[in-house]
Symmetry: C2
Subunit: 247 residues, 2 copies
C-alpha cells in the first residue's frame, strides 16, 4: 500500500492519516481478511494507534475512496471489493487534465481486448458464449438508438472480459466504461448510413461467433478488425467535434 | 468521476462527501485545469456548496487518496498527477484479499508488455534505447545481488514503457512495481545456477537489442520468451514458498 498512501502529503496531519491507513491495510493483510468481512471501527484503531477519531475518520474516508474498505449506513466498515471504478476515476481525471490522450487509451484497450477475446474463446462457458452472441444481436436490434447501442456495446466488451476468467482483465475493461459512454456514441454518429452501421454490427457478430466457436485466433483477428475500424471512427468523431467547436 | 464517488456509501454524510468530491472534480474539468494548478481551499467549496468544513475535509482527503488532487504542507490543494500508485493500491488490496491471483496479474503484465516492447521499438529515442541497454547490462553486472537485480529489472520494464510514448502504459506498468518487488526476487531464487541466471539476463539483453534496432516483431518475440520463462519461475517460486510454509 506504499504508493498512494506514502504520497498523501507531507505535513504532520497527513503523515498521521497515512499511518492510520497503513494500520488498517496491515490489519486486513495480517488477518487474511476477505471481501465483506467487518473491520473494527474508528474507535478501535484510534485507541490502538493513539490518534484522534478525526484522523481515523479521514483514513477510513480515503480507504473508502480507494475501495479498500466499504463504509456506509452507520454500520461497521467492511473489506472492499475491487470494482474498476478506482481505475476509472484515475483515467477520467487523467483525460480531463490532458495527462493522457484518447488515442493512448484506445491503444491500451485494443491491447487488452485482443487478449480477452482470445482467452474468452478458450475459457468461456456455454452460458457466457450465449450471452455474448445475445449482446451482439441486441446491438443489431437497437441500431439507430445510440443510447441502447452504447449500453449493449459496453456490456458486450464486459461480457467478453468476464468470459476470459481473469478477474484483473474484468476490472480493467470495466474501468474503461465511463470513457466509452462518451466515445462510443461519438463513433456511432460518424457512421451515418445503415450500411456503415451494419459493418460495425457484423464485426461484433464475428467476434461473438469466434468466441462461441472456441477459435482464439479468429476471435483475436475479429477484435483487431473491430478496433481498426472503431479507432478510425472515434478519431474522426473527435475531429468533427473539434471542427464544430471551432466553427 | 461517477464510479468511485457514487459508491462511497449511502448514508447522508457519505452522500454529502460524494457531492463535495463531484463539485471539486467538476471544477477541475470545467476550468480545464492542468496538473500543479492551485484549487480553491476547503472554505471556498464549503460556502459554495453550503456544507461543513468537515465534509469538505473528507472530500479533499478522498480525492488526495485517488491522486485527483495533491494536498500537503498547509498550502492550497493542487491538481494531482497520475502516478500509477492508485492502481497499485487497488492491485495490492485485491491480491491481499484473494480477489485476484498472481498468475492473473502475470497474464495482464505479459499482454501489456508485449505491446510496450513493440511500441518502444518503433518510438524510442536514441537516449531511451541507450538507457534500456544500460539497464540490461546493469542487471548482468549485479547478478547474485537480488535487491540490485530487482531494482534494475523493474527500472528496465519501466524504461520500456516510457519509450512506448503512451502515458497510460507507463502508469499501468509502474503500478505493477510494488508487486514485482515481491515476485521478482522470488523468481530469481529459483534460478540457482550461474547458467540459469545468464539465460534470464540474455533474455533482457535480447529485448534491449531488438528495441535499440527498432525491430518491433523481434522485441515482441523476445519479451514473450522472457515472460514464458519468468512465469514458470515465479509459479515455481510460489509453490516452493508454500511447500516451505507447510513443511
Amino acid at each position: 500500500m506504499d504508493g498512494a498512501i506514502a504520497q498523501l502529503g507531507s505535513n504532520d496531519g497527513r503523515s498521521l492519516v497515512r499511518r492510520a491507513m497503513q494500520a488498517i491495510t496491515d490489519h486486513i493483510r495480517n488477518k487474511s481478511m476477505r471481501v465483506g468481512e467487518s473491520l473494527p471501527g474508528e474507535a478501535y484503531f484510534a485507541v490502538e494507534l493513539g490518534v484522534s477519531r478525526a484522523v481515523m475518520r479521514e483514513a477510513f474516508g480515503a480507504l473508502a475512496a480507494l475501495k479498500v474498505i466499504d463504509v456506509g449506513n452507520g454500520r461497521k466498515p467492511r473489506v472492499g471489493a475491487m470494482d474498476g471504478s478506482v481505475i476509472a476515476t484515475s483515467l477520467e481525471h487523467a483525460v480531463d487534465t490532458a495527462q493522457i490522450t484518447v488515442p493512448e487509451i484506445w491503444d491500451v484497450r485494443r491491447t487488452i481486448e485482443l487478449r480477452t477475446a482470445a482467452l474468452a474463446a478458450s475459457s468461456r462457458t456455454e452460458a457466457e458464449a450465449a450471452r455474448i452472441v445475445e449482446l451482439a444481436e441486441a446491438m443489431a436490434a437497437s441500431r439507430g438508438d445510440f443510447a441502447g447501442m452504447t449500453r449493449h456495446d459496453i456490456a458486450f466488451h464486459d461480457a467478453i472480459a468476464r468470459a476470459s476468467h481473469n478477474a484483473l482483465f474484468v476490472q480493467i475493461v470495466s474501468s474503461f466504461g465511463p470513457l466509452m459512454e462518451v466515445a462510443v456514441p461519438s463513433a456511432w454518429r460518424t457512421r451515418t448510413t445503415e450500411e456503415e452501421r451494419m459493418v460495425v454490427i457484423d464485426q461484433h457478430r464475428a467476434i461473438a461467433r469466434a468466441i462461441a466457436d472456441g477459435d482464439a485466433a479468429a476471435a483475436t483477428a475479429a477484435m483487431d478488425a473491430h478496433f481498426d475500424a472503431s479507432i478510425g471512427n472515434i478519431l474522426q468523431g473527435m475531429s468533427q467535434t473539434r471542427d464544430r467547436a471551432s466553427a
